[in-house]
């Protein structure tokens, strides 16, 4: 067990998907700030220095409300670490989906949440090649964290971000501030950025590797591109989770060779070739 340093500079070592992961920690953390940043979407900041320091881009937290609470969400919900400050504040990008996400959206500063993390595998840059990060909706979250971390280590990062509508787009200025870089935005209704699907923005001319997080059709389009063009692709997948640490076997996704893999411990970030795709 080795905790990575919070924000290191310049080192170009590869970070393997599943190596050197920190032991997860469980603790209550206070909400520092919570803002509605787009339609039914919140930027939630919690103060959790230990977990922040140990987190790597692509890893996630289980967020719950403790055993005294039996209202929804009762079972903790997984959220990508969306950012960390040097002081140990973790930023989470939360979009209303059901009761649990709505409850997270309604949190006020001072409220406490129960965290378990950091959990799962992380994205890994390939030295010398740009990481082309393709985000759909709240699939943006891991890349908000990834971009500054990779850049600090000397890796080039390009960020494409798509939403169905302009109203759902997370403030581009805030994205630039958090990621310390640029973002290219696509919306289906054309109300922000370019009109179209985010995958239309993929440009392979600088020999990037692909990283993706978002809705299934987007991941499928990425996989088709990656397999056709023979480019490495890492994707963060989603599945319902119980424990988050590999004991319940609730969160499986199909493995390329048949059988299942746990999204919480082998994932959530997989090499696309490890997975069984329906393309």
């Amino acid at each position: 067990m080795t905790a990575t340093t919070a924000t290191g500079g310049g080192s170009a070592e590869p970070i393997p998907l599943r190596e050197n992961r920190a032991t997860p920690r469980r603790h209550w953390a206070p909400v520092v700030r919570n803002r509605e940043v787009a339609e039914a979407t919140w930027w939630l900041e919690v103060d959790a220095p230990e977990i922040a320091a140990a987190s790597r881009p692509g890893q996630f937290l289980m967020i719950g409300f403790g055993v005294e609470n039996t209202g929804a969400p009762f079972i903790p919900r997984p959220f990508s670490v969306g950012w960390r400050s040097p002081e140990g504040v973790i930023g989470l990008l939360v979009r209303a989906f059901g009761a649990g996400t709505r409850r997270l959206g309604a949190l006020d500063p001072g409220d406490d949440v129960l965290l378990l993390g950091p959990l799962g595998s992380a994205f890994r840059p390939e030295p010398g090649r740009p990481s082309l990060c393709v985000a759909g909706g709240v699939g943006l979250a891991p890349f908000l964290f990834l971009a500054p971390e990779f850049r600090d280590r000397g890796h080039e990062v390009r960020l494409l971000y798509g939403e169905r509508t302009g109203a759902r787009v997370f403030d581009p200025d805030l994205i630039r501030e958090l990621t310390r870089g640029d973002v290219e935005i696509w919306t289906e209704d054309g109300e922000a950025g370019s009109r179209g699907l985010v995958v239309e923005g993929i440009d392979l001319s600088d020999d990037p590797i692909l990283m993706g997080c978002g809705p299934t059709p987007m991941l499928q389009a990425l996989a088709r591109t990656a397999f056709e063009e023979e480019i490495p692709l890492q994707v963060s997948v989603e599945e319902h989770m119980g424990c988050g640490i590999g004991t319940c076997q609730g969160c499986v996704v199909p493995a390329a060779g048949g059988g299942w893999m746990k999204a919480c411990t082998r994932g959530p970030v997989f090499e696309a070739r490890e997975l069984q795709w329906e393309l």
């Binding site: 469980r26 079972i75 903790p76 129960l114 319902h240 119980g242 004991t247 076997q249 609730g250 199909p254």
Partner: protein, 315 residues
């Protein structure tokens, strides 16, 4: 030996709280988060004679006050369990007791697991999960008294280790099943396993769970579990492990007063791994504050002749 320790199944139990089968894997993952060896013990994920792949996703989903799961008994199988999982348990657990949860589709399959494990180290005994389809009989072992009796008798012949039978809740008279187990030579009972349930995604008009239906666990089933534990406890003299929706010392004590000597915590572990520690501490505090002596003096002492309500005013 503290106020919460007991002698059961021929050994000392330092505390009454076990982690429930299927919710703690084979122990290793939780050892990073809680002092596993300070607990009463744990029950492993089900072990079958062959490895099982399990069911397609979604395997779990939340229900009001609980969750629905259908893992499909995914497990590494007897051989890999002995090779890869038991050594960790033997090495890392000294005082906490281990029960191996056993499944099969036929009496022979159950017997093969027990026979294959019996000479190994690292565990105390077996918890027999009878919520499996009985391929021979067409029902579940847990809902067919004859099949249940035959199964337990056969396993009794395979081992001298403790055999705890984990009962299924969806029967009209759990006491009758408890007696069948007692007569067939079981050493104890676990009450209860999950309730059959189903959720439907009304947008897609499909079942949420890949396997269509699954088992409901969590606080939602607490009052059912307490009742069935009380029924089983009054039907037999076997020691009982109470299970279902426990997340606090108060919940656990309801099971104890209903007749359970030990308890298991499952779903609540997902909500907070430390709940298992909190339950143990809370029981210790309860005993201390009330000057009860020790835990075993509480087991089964609910006074059903008198309800809690007294008088007309505020309590």
């Amino acid at each position: 030996m503290g106020a919460v320790s007991q002698r059961l199944f021929g050994v000392e139990w330092q505390g009454p709280v076990l982690l429930a089968s299927g919710t703690c894997g084979y122990g290793e993952e939780y050892s990073d988060l809680i002092p596993l060896d300070d607990l009463g013990g744990l029950v492993t994920k089900a072990v079958s004679v062959e490895p099982r792949e399990g069911n397609p996703p979604h395997r779990i989903s939340e229900t009001p006050g609980g969750m629905l799961n259908s893992i499909g008994l995914e497990n590494v199988g007897l051989e890999a369990f002995v090779r890869e999982k038991l050594p960790w348990l033997e090495e890392n657990l000294d005082r906490a007791r281990v029960l191996v949860n056993v499944v099969g589709n036929s009496v022979d399959e159950y017997a093969a697991v027990v026979a294959g494990l019996d000479d190994e180290d690292g565990f105390l005994g077996y918890e027999i999960n009878v919520s499996c389809p009985n391929v021979e009989g067409g029902t579940m072992f847990g809902t067919d008294r004859e099949a249940l009796g035959r199964l337990v008798e056969r396993l009794r012949g395979e081992t001298d280790r403790p055999i705890v039978v984990k009962l299924t809740p969806n029967v009209p008279d759990i006491g009758a099943y408890a007696r069948v187990c007692e007569e067939a030579g079981a050493d104890g009972l676990s009450t209860i396993n999950t309730f059959p349930g189903m959720l439907i995604d009304v947008d897609k008009r499909r079942p949420v769970i890949g396997n269509v239906n699954g088992g409901v666990s969590g606080p939602a089933i607490l009052p059912m579990g307490v009742y069935l534990t009380w029924q089983a406890a009054t039907a037999t003299d076997l020691p009982i492990i109470g299970i279902g929706g426990i997340r606090s010392a108060e919940d656990a004590l309801q099971y104890v007063l209903a007749g359970a000597s030990l308890v298991q915590i499952g779903t609540a572990l997902f909500v907070d791994p430390e709940s298992a520690v909190g339950v143990t501490e809370g029981i210790e505090k309860y005993i201390e504050e009330r000057d009860v002596g020790d835990l075993s003096e509480l087991v089964g002492t609910v006074d059903v002749e008198r309800p809690a309500r007294v008088g007309l005013g505020y309590e």
